[in-house]
Amino acid sequence: MVANVLSIKDLHVSVGDKEILKGVTITVKSGEIHALMGPNGTGKSTLAHTVVGSLRYKVKSGELLINDINLKDLQVYERARAGLFVAFQEPVSVQGLRFINYLRTAYSSLHPDEKLEYKKFIEEVKELLNYFGLDNSFIDRGLNEGLSGGEKKRMEALQMLILKPKFIILDEIDSGLDIDALRVVSKAIAKAKENGAGIIIITHYQRILDYIKPDFVHVLINGRIAESGNGELAKLIEERGYEYYRGGEVDAKVE
């Protein structure tokens, strides 16, 4: 398999007049799992939205690449076609847009060279719904319309598997999941990794990382990566909290 690389290099991002990300560097290769942790409001979701390409998030400087494709030149949908998938912290809903119609459109947009066999596709979706503990009625429901928090997260995970992206950013996919759902979603992430995806898991909790061992853990404090390390770092964070990074120590920890 060809190894792909997602490079986020010294990324500075503002929303309105406010600089939120102040130089973030993360490099993800195919098959790697990175965990991104950090206190509320430090810019984790901002990073996800910026990589997606939402216009509200202005890249002031830095680079965003998949291999040698410059994502900054691409519109949101083109980035997805370059292999990017982001499961949002709060997936929006679209009234009346049937999930299956949406998913089919997304799939054929992302894989224009494949001839999509609709029947097979539906079967595959049903199987996955079942895998995530959701019944078949979800196929025809409006996109995220009236779904519970945990159901939305599972539907995002389902799309992550169906759409076969190269790079995946999961923004708090574990929040709001019950224990069983967390286990299934973790398995799904492991599957995506096996399929060769490079993955960033944004999370507040060690729990999900017990199921899927991250290769790298990054701590984002005030728009900067305060520390990067291996899987052990997540446990350390759990023990000592983010207080540890307050007051001057932040800069010292930057690589």
């Binding site: 076609r81 009346g96 947009s109 224009p112």
Partner: protein, 474 residues
């Protein structure tokens, strides 16, 4: 980058051009000189070999028409010059019951429109009209044997004059509005559907109305009579080619829903943008009867249509589901009229509109619950989606709840497409314009899902085509 969605829009464009936007090259078998006068009306009536009573109805209606001003409360109709129009164009002398007997040029027209194919696949019967006259009608034998009648209205007047006389112009009198008076004066074609007591058609019947020229008037007249316990689904299709000059379509539809009968009237319109469309559609619903109006309306320059249901018998009910797109220099004035004139009647109105590219969509509704219509229930919901800053939407509900025990709810919403929704869909690889059309289709889904699949697939494509007018702007 990948082109698949451009291909889809291209396909829809072609569909629209090849399937709808073409002119049939026929030399009319007969036509009156342009303009409207007593002699034109008399000439038409004579050409049609009508009984005197019908000619008299026409002449009286003409007087009413001339005495009524052009409505000014809605869209600008100043372009409409009644002297410029040709009121009666008969493309062909014969009326066929078999597509093989239809002259080639005309048959080709309906082949392109997919009418014979739809008939074979899906319909219990079919009427096809080009310009002013029905050119084809057919009903499957099994229904003929049960006494169902489905044919063009002129033929029905010849063959069933008594039934026509008894029902004609009662639900929609010529005095109702200027267009109704005009239609009554110069009506031609349309369809006549009679379902005897207790007969329930399991497949729909369809009438297809095709306009062909510029400055042409099409004034079909439809009469549907569902006897007690009968049920039917009637589908109306309307299209026309594009011209720089306008044409006028002003139909009248009268529906009698008798005791415990059920009629669904689905209208799928894809007008070219030179059409001024002002039909009057109304139904009388008796005890436990049910009338369902479903309308999907694309195109036209101006549309003014307010299908009405008069609930005359206890436990009568009606629904009115309407989707209208006003994208471009279009004024869609749509609505519903419901009168609860008996106890325990119920009604539901759902109107969805899209305005874009300077389009104007209006919901104009009237709902009345008469005193004594005990325990009647009514709900009105109108939702508007506005696609940009130059487009508009207005709502003029007129509700009169005169019965205390009745319950009534009215909900209205006006919204825009949220950029977060667009971003979300785009983040899954969907192009911006496709994302927007998916959101629009989702918004319309409540109503679109009531349109038979055979029609809604194409309707969806045409909605996407309208949305593609937006291009991929940032």
């Amino acid at each position: 980058m990948q082109k698949w969605n451009e291909i889809e829009v291209e396909e829809a464009k072609k569909l629209n051009e090849i399937k709808y936007d073409f002119v049939t090259n026929v030399k009319p078998a007969y036509q009156v000189q342009k303009g409207l006068s007593r002699s034109v009306v008399e000439e038409m009536s004579k050409e049609k070999k009508e009984p005197d009573w019908m000619r008299n109805i026409r002449l009286k209606a003409l007087e009413i028409f001339l005495s009524k001003p052009v409505p000014t409360w809605g869209p600008d109709l100043s372009e409409l010059n009644f002297d410029d129009l040709t009121y009666y164009i008969k493309p062909e002398d014969r009326k066929a019951n078999n597509w093989d007997e239809v002259p080639k040029e005309i048959k080709d027209t309906f082949d392109k429109l997919g009418v014979p194919e739809m008939e074979k696949k899906y319909l219990a019967g079919s009427v096809a009209q080009l310009q002013s006259e029905g050119v084809y009608s057919r009903l499957r034998k099994q229904w003929e044997d049960k006494g169902v009648v489905f044919m063009d209205m002129d033929s029905a007047l010849q063959r069933y004059p008594d039934i026509v006389k008894e029902h004609f112009g009662r639900v929609v009198p010529p005095s109702d509005n200027k267009f109704a008076a005009l239609n009554t004066a110069v009506w031609s074609g349309g369809s006549f559907l009679y379902i005897p007591s207790g007969v329930q058609l399991d497949l729909p019947v369809q009438a297809y109305f095709r306009m062909n020229g510029a400055l042409e008037g099409q004034f079909e007249r439809t009469l549907i009579i569902a006897e007690p316990g009968a049920s039917v689904h009637y589908i109306e299709g309307c299209t026309a080619p594009t011209y720089s000059q306008y044409s006028l379509h002003a139909a009248i539809v009268e529906v009698y829903v008798k005791k415990a009968a059920k009629v669904r009237y689905t209208s799928v319109q894809n007008w070219s943008d030179n059409i001024i469309n002002g039909p009057t559609k109304r139904s009388w619903i008796e005890e436990r009867g049910r009338m369902e109006w479903v309308q999907g309306s694309l195109g036209s320059k101006i549309t003014m249509t307010y299908p009405s249901s008069i609930l005359r018998g206890e436990y009568a009910s009606t629904s009115n589901l309407n989707v209208a797109l006003a994208v471009g220099p279009v004024w869609k004035d749509n609505g519903a009229k419901v009168i609860h004139a008996a106890p325990n009647t119920s009604s539901k109105v759902v109107a969805k509109s899209i305005s874009g590219k300077g389009g104007m969509s209006v919901y104009r509704g009237q709902l009345r619950i008469n005193p004594g219509a005990y325990n009647s229930k009514a709900s009105v919901q109108c939702d508007a989606l506005i696609l940009d800053d130059i487009s508009k939407s207005n709502t003029y509900p007129h509700n009169e709840i005169l019965e205390e025990s009745a319950s009534f709810s009215h909900e209205a919403s006006v919204g825009k497409i949220s950029e977060d929704q667009v971003d979300y869909l785009m983040s899954r690889g969907i192009r911006e314009e496709d994302a927007r059309s998916l959101i629009v289709l989702g918004f319309l889904d409540d109503v679109l899902k009531e349109i038979p699949l055979e029609y809604s697939i194409e309707f969806n494509k045409l909605v996407k085509l309208e949305m593609s007018k937006y291009g991929a702007v940032g």
